[in-house]
Every structure is written in C-alpha cells, then in structure tokens.
Amino acid sequence: MLLIECPHCGPRAETEYAGCSEAHIARPESGGLDMTDAEWVEWVFWRKNTKGVYLERWNHAAGCRRWINCMRDTVTNEILATYKAGEKPPKIADAEREYKF
C-alpha cells in the first residue's frame, strides 16, 4: 500500500484517497457563454493521457475530505509530490522525467 502525504493531515494510506483526473484545468473566463460545443467538450471531457509525470486532483475521501493536488509518474506510479488545491506544482529535481509522447 502506498503512503501518500496529505498536505493537511500528514502521511496517510492510499485507501483513504480517491484519485480524480487532471488538475489545473481553469474554468473558462468568459463563463462559457461564447464557447462552441466543441470547446465545451474539450473543457469538460478531454484530458491529457500523459506517459510520465502527471498532475492530478485527488480527494482525501476518508480523511479531511479536502481536494489536494498530486504529482504522479504514470509509468512507475511514484507519487513525486502532493500540494494543496490552489497552489502551483512544486519543481521536481529530476526534470528529465518530464518526458512526453
């Protein structure tokens, strides 16, 4: 079982969390009124499928129930960092790992 650091509660077991897709997707500034259907689909449904370091939103469902952000390597399933919702992702030492395909 993975031990994942919650920025509020400290290190907790993986089973306390729910992982929920890509982080840092900004709500359209216009409120969406001038968006086409295609743009809506893009915003609501389409997500990156990164091979490597990926930024995700996680919910500490069985703990403080707060949304947090998680930097995870999708190849190794290694959790590189967790940080509070609303914060910028931290720099990681090994920038080489940010490979994309």
């Binding site: 907790r12 089973t15 069985a62």
Partner: protein
C-alpha cells in the same frame, strides 16, 4: 428530546446481557449517544474564532489530528476549516443556535450531527493490536497518542478515531448505520484476545 429517549443503534446487539470472557485483554462498549455539532469556519477570521472559543469554553484546535478538551466540551480538528464539537451539557440544536448567534454575519456553517454517530469504545492492553487490524494508520504511540483524533477508515467504514487515554482507551465515532457492521468486525477481530463488554 430527552437523552434517555434516544435509542442507540448498538442497543439491538443486547450488550447489556452479554457476559465477558475470562482474562479479557480487550474491552469494547457502547459509547452512548453524543451531542455533536459540525462547525465550518474560516480560521483566518480571528474575531469569529474567539467568539466560538468563548462560547464553547476552549480554543478551536488548529493542529492537525488533535482534539482539545474543555470543561464540558471537546473540540476535534477535522480539517483546516472544520471542527467537530462534542458537548456534554448542550443539546445539538441548542449549541447550533448559540453558534449561529455568536457568528451572526460571519460566513460559517454549524450543523447538528448528533444523530449521525454511534460511538464504540475500545480499551485494554490489546486494544491497539485490535484496531490496527482494521485501521491503516500507524497507531504506535510515537505516531498516534493520547490527545489525538483523526478521520480515517476502519475496515470498510469511515470513522473518527480518538485516543482518550494511555490505557489505551479509544473512541470510534462511526456512522450510525455502519455501527453494527463495525462492531461485528471488531468483535470477530478480537478472537484470541478475549473480549469483555463494558456496561
């Protein structure tokens, strides 16, 4: 409603008539029906925090995973802006209306959640060994000790786990409808330790 009129979900288990095993190393019991209010408030609002502290008689804890004890109140940290207030002398609705009054004009939420909870008490020399079977947290005193309270899961159900004393004595606040499940789980987990039922 008078407290004695409220039936707890563990009443159905007939714990009163149960006999304890010889040389029991774990004691479990029904922790009764607490009077609980869930409070959400911005901790940056010092005046509002002070108003609540004056009302409940103790400062709201801001340290993660701890609870503080007042004379007739316990306040548990649940999240950076969320607390559980367990009162011994005030009905949930009464406390909610007093909180709403004290926090008039402040963005907050106070909800009476008394009927949400059943409390299971676990104590004795094997209490930690028993809970450790169900809970993924490290319960070693170096990591989790008296004065701490946290939300986690025990077996498949969410609980608020509180360590009351070094005995060790734990309280598990569990959702009412899951309480019989958790009791049954812990009881079967206690096989080999010997189980006593506290009255």
């Amino acid at each position: 409603m008078d407290n004695f009129m409220r039936q707890g979900p563990l009443n159905d288990l007939g714990l009163v008539g149960r006999t304890s095993e010889d040389n029991a190393q774990v004691t479990m019991g029904d922790g009764g029906r607490p009077m609980v209010v869930n409070l959400r408030l911005d901790p940056a609002n010092k005046a509002a925090m002070k108003a609540v502290a004056t009302l409940v008689g103790v400062d709201l804890p801001q340290k993660a995973n701890y609870f503080v004890e007042g004379k007739e109140t316990e306040v548990h940290w649940l999240a950076p802006d969320e607390w559980m207030i367990v009162s011994q002398n005030m009905e949930g609705n009464e406390l909610v209306s007093k909180l709403d009054e004290a926090l008039d004009g402040v963005h907050h939420s106070a909800v009476n959640v008394s009927d949400n909870f059943a409390v299971i008490t676990v104590e004795g020399e094997k209490a930690r060994a028993l809970l450790q079977k169900a809970i993924p947290l490290d319960l070693h005193p170096r990591e989790f000790h008296t004065g701490m309270s946290t939300q986690t899961h025990a077996a498949k159900t969410n609980v608020i786990l509180q360590q009351v004393s070094d005995a060790p004595f734990y309280k598990l606040y569990v959702r009412r409808s899951f309480s019989q499940y958790l009791w049954a789980w812990l009881e079967s987990g206690s096989i080999g330790f010997g189980l006593a039922i506290s009255s």
